[in-house]
Symmetry: C2
Subunit: 407 residues, 2 copies
């Protein structure tokens, strides 16, 4: 196993955070309202008021000692039951409370899942472009990360490349659909093909291969499409969920792992997570937050704002000559940059107060991410900045029609 | 490094939890009010109302999006500043916000601290009797646990035994004062002697030795004694704190690590904790809980109840012929059992609806723990049960005077 030196890690800070800091620095000069900060994936719509109301009800109507007491390590049973019931009614699975393990958001869910299904030095596959934190998550779980190159025309799975990397050392695959940073959800066809491939490889290698399905954006879908629920297609699936994005409560650190009841060791996985928690130092998420999500398990924040923002930006970028696969959900766009080096492209954009994140750290060069979880009014104003940016820096790339728009 | 098998760990469930389950099973037969459940360390007094009021104020008066947004990974800066200020005024240290790392309780604080100051296969010393969870904490951090035998007459440090175990492989020592399960706080004399020994050994070994000071019971002290603040006596101290016991909010998972400003690498320790968090899957405790403790940093729940309970039980046990070192704090008593095997002793006690925990799992046989964080009314009623228990099971041990009490 590789020796971890946390000291060395300190200076490898995230490009996203750096760009966010640049935006904040600029805001000090011209005011945050004039900075088009598309760097961070921080929800921009408020939590449904039922959440706040439920906390207030718990604090004012219930026994205070009971409300704040220790949660069982796997989570409060009634909360786990309610989540199982909600998932069953929506996705037609047969979860019981014993299959639900409460976590402090998706980060904690992935940390537990990785340790559940891998052992030291196993290999874990991810698909580029991918959330950059997967790299330390996998490494610090003692495993090796293998990255499947993207199919940049569709951002569906590049199966040719996947098969090359799918060796017997692989015991887990992290899937993230809808995806950060592309906004693309895997089609049912893609998922069926993936499930079939993994089933064949399990037989060939004579060991299990688990999907760790990271689904914080599951509820943010566009054009009324139904995001396929991956556990429905592949038995060995651990679904990692976070309420951060769907309910706009990222600071409250609440999520869960749902173990497919037909998964290998499904009956002991949650007990294993409890053991893993002793090492990770997690004793369940905050009790009051667990209780407060129960009344709104089937609700979301006003997520339609994100689709609206996406459409405004997407239409404009296409008009300006950008190539971009249209998202099915999330609050991200991942267009190709107008020059090969997306870092230079994003650096130039800051001159127009546009703060974008180059795709390199997502494992996909030549692209950039727009996190459009900002006010729609601001998205509209940013359009003029994008026009100015392209006209000034890349006018040679514009065709006649595009030049007309910009005039 | 030892290979961890979480499957094997599942059945090694805690004796405390088992005894608690026995108490609950019995409660189904005779009602919980008739069960003298001294098994769990679950606070029995309510949180100060300012805590609940502050949450309600945040939810009703502040911007909802802001209140629930991501916390920085090390914690909300204003919260860390307030904690530093509170500690400085109470203990005369010079913490800055940069020395405070917010955690989901003491468990998370210890998990981060161990990884900060040790590397794989290092040895970590604990003093018996000790909180049984230290064993998995240390093991799952990749280190080896070494247990210093107790001085059962005082439960201060047994320095002779400590020196035998203090070899160059040791890089961290977990100290827990006031102690679970004995209730004993280390005297200033003990701490000065420990600090001196460690300073000498650091020079001798030419490497740092860190104290991880686990202090969840710091605020629960008896007889108005001042519990010495360990970081004040030894530079390389990481203080791990939890608000679970002092504020009676164990379910809300809130605590911190305070890095002594004079500790080795004090300026980068919190940044290292942030890196460690990426592996542990912790992204700071719940934002609203962080904010809600600020107004009550210098307050506590009504902790005097515990001292009252202790005095009632201690006086009675002494009268009945038990040997017990009188606690300086916490809500635990740790008397010697009336027969060599404390497991048999505690098993017999259940016949009288007394649920006690044998000391074996704390690394100290022949003793038992009473967690008297229960209602005083119940403590008083339990006295009759203790009398009956001793009279029926151990009457041969009673002297004339004691027999008279029991008549």
């Amino acid at each position: 196993m590789e020796v971890i030196d946390y000291r060395l890690m300190i200076n490898q800070s995230s490009v996203i955070r750096k760009m966010y800091k640049n935006a904040l620095d600029r805001a000090e000069q011209i005011g945050y309202e004039n900075v088009f900060d598309y760097s961070l994936g921080n929800p921009s719509v408020p939590v449904p008021e039922e959440f706040n109301n439920e906390i207030i009800r718990l604090l004012t109507s219930e026994d205070s000692k009971h409300i704040h007491e220790y949660s069982p390590n796997a989570g409060i049973v009634e909360v786990r039951e309610a989540i199982a019931k909600s998932l069953n009614s929506r996705f037609g699975i047969d979860y019981k409370s014993e299959h639900i393990f409460m976590t402090a958001g998706a980060t904690s869910a992935i940390a537990h899942s990785l340790r559940c299904v891998t052992k030291q030095d196993d290999e874990v596959i991810v698909f580029a472009p991918f959330f950059p934190e997967y790299t330390p998550y996998v490494k610090l779980a003692g495993c090796k990360l293998k990255v499947v190159e993207p199919d940049i025309k569709t951002f569906q799975i590049n199966f040719e490349k996947l098969e090359q990397l799918l060796t017997p050392e692989v015991t887990a695959i992290i899937v993230n659909s809808p995806n950060n940073p592309t906004g693309i959800a895997y089609s049912e066809e893609t998922i069926i093909k993936l499930a079939k491939l993994l089933e064949n490889k399990q037989k060939e290698f004579n060991h299990d291969i688990f999907i760790i399905s990271d689904e914080p954006y599951r509820e943010i879908s566009f054009d009324n499409i139904k995001i396929p629920y991956i556990a429905k297609y592949y038995k060995n699936t651990l679904t990692c969920y976070s309420f951060s994005k769907s309910l706009s409560i990222p600071g409250e650190r609440i999520g869960y792992i749902a173990i497919n009841p037909e998964c290998k060791d499904a009956d002991i996985m949650v007990s294993m997570c409890v053991q893993i928690s002793r090492g990770l130092g997690q004793n369940a998420p905050a009790s009051i937050i667990q209780r407060a999500i129960v009344p709104i398990l089937d609700k979301t924040a006003q997520l339609s704002v994100y689709e609206n923002n996406m459409n405004i930006l997407y239409d404009e970028l296409i008009k300006l000559g950008f190539k971009c696969v249209k998202p099915n959900g999330t609050f991200y766009l991942f267009p190709q940059s107008l020059e090969d080096d997306a870092n230079i492209f994003c650096q130039k954009a800051t001159k127009y107060d546009l703060f974008l994140v180059p795709g390199d750290s997502f494992g996909c060069c030549g692209h950039f991410r727009i996190a459009y979880c900002v006010q729609t009014e601001k998205v509209k104003r940013s359009i003029f900045k994008f026009r100015e940016f392209v006209q000034n820096e890349y006018c040679n790339l514009l065709n006649k029609e595009q030049s007309l728009i910009l005039r």
